[in-house]
Amino acid sequence: MKKRTNILRFCLLFAVGVIAVRLFFIQIIQHSEWVAKADAQHTLKNTIMAKRGEIYMMDGDEAVAVVMNETVYTLIVDPMMADEEKTKEVVEEYAKDNLVAKWEDVFKNKTRRYYIVARNVSRASVEKIREEELIGVSFQENTKRVYPEGELASGLLGFVNLDGKGQYGVEGSLNTELAGTNGLLKTVSDVNNIALSIGDNNIKVPAEDGKNIVLTIDRNVQYAVEKALANGMERTGATNASAIVMNPNNGEILAVANLPTYNASEYWNVKDAGSYINYVFDDPIEPASVCKTFTFSAAIDLGAMTPETTYYNAGYTTVDGWKIENAYKGLIGTVSMQTALGWSLNTGSIQALRLMGGDADAINQSGREKLYDYYYNKFGLGQKTGVEIYEANVAIADPNVGNGRDSMYANMTFGQNIQLTMLQVAAAFSSVVNGGEYYTPTIVAGEVKDGEFIEADKKEAVRRTISETTSATMRDMLVKARKVWKNAVDKKGYTVGGKSGTAQAIKNGQYVFDETYATYIGFGSEKGEMPAYVVMVRLWADGKTMNGGNDALPVFTEISDYMIDYLKLKPTE
């Protein structure tokens, strides 16, 4: 009897010992591991997603949203649980347009537990489907960008990819500001994953929503500009067109249009990735004869010439052994600089460069350096403007380093051998006509915070480019230059001036002769007043020769007429 008791005692002791050892291992040796397992089961760790900021445009003085967020749902079916007929019927009724799967594929393999059937289903549709109490149908919440203005300004705005990252345009350039900062929630939860406040290590870092950015773009102007470009493309057969409208008195950009546009909410359907490009900011081009405006401004500002200064136009001139011809073959003989600008004579702008160097017969170092000083240091050509979003890197040739500087600078006087963005040209042109002050172009007007538009500080002029007198002279020259074109018919009672440009396209680093693109830049104002707007237009098509005066000028006129009405400029008889 005692022996049995001893055996039982020993067994019990052994069992207790085993349990004690096991407990020691679990509680002491493997403590952290088991605590982690327990935490994983009852700790809720969620990222609190920051709301991406919306993008606004101006509508007069009011900011209106043009890129917004919408909650949408992904509809998921569990083929094993779902009733095939009922599910099909209900989903087809409320989310037919959002289906991304074929029903025969969904229910082909009934052992599968997860099949995405529809995407971007609206909340209203989800509510209807939920009312049907379908078994085996669940929803996953997502946010997507919506564009109430459709494709308006798509090339400027960019899009947000499937990872939630901004791509191209404003979305790409200001992604950090728009994205905000995600928050964190770490807390004890119940079986239904509901956060509980019990526990000592709960963390809640609220998300910081992205900024709601307001652009200086006026949606009415933007719409009118895109319409004018579309009309121009139809009229001329151009496949692409771009335009920028600026307020020359403060650098605010009122419209940036690139056609063709695309549907940013379905950016993946775009066949030509060129549609994503904001050609106004991102595409350096040879601006061609619109550059004569800058050459003449510099020469007049230096006192080297006046609009009445004359020279002999032989139809061509020779520099560094290169024969440089005019596009217009007439007007051989003595002509004024005003005539040279109006008829866009290359010989005239080259003569202006010679005069800047103090030698009417030859281009010299002094002339080149002076042109460089105006182009680069004053007009900011060949350097980034400092606008808030992405712009292309550009450069301008050194006036003294390298061979053939004279011919290079001769070409630069009429916009060849120099690559600039339309933004740079428009900003510099604004300073030519606004009295001679350069404003950094700006596209961000402020932000919307708690429903209120908070305007950013207005930017001051950063430097003087030319004197007020030179600016007034240039305005007058540009008005006369515009009138050379018979098709330049403006609203009566206003001052409208401008300059055309026709540039040879460059393919694989070589000028081609069967493709030119058309540009036109100009301004408009009440008579005797400072310009109220500056517009630059560019049209082009692969393998097509286009002309600034014939093709781009009418588009400018249409936009200019609109601006006169929109800004309520007062005519003078």
Binding site: E70, A124, E149, L152, I194, L196, S197, N220
Partner: protein
Amino acid sequence: MRESTSNWGRNRNTIRHTPKSLGSVSQTVILGVLVLIVGMIYVAQGTKATNYDYELSSLEGEISELEMKKEDLAVERARLTSVAVAQDSEVAVAMEDAQVSGYAD
């Protein structure tokens, strides 16, 4: 007849003062009850906090739902007031260009 000499004391109340104390069983029971009460209070408070959490979660859900509805309405409003919609509206289409006949300062 002789009266009992002890009768005089029959109705005398005698009081004996003795110290009263709870027995050890009672003390244990009372202590147990007290511990139970404190425990119940603790559990009740814990449950109350959890109930608040459920209420909070439910309210947060409602707020989120209402915010979504508000966003939907804002999007719809923006769509209805977009430039393209305004330009293509029946009213806008039926408009004629203004004829300027003169200006007044």
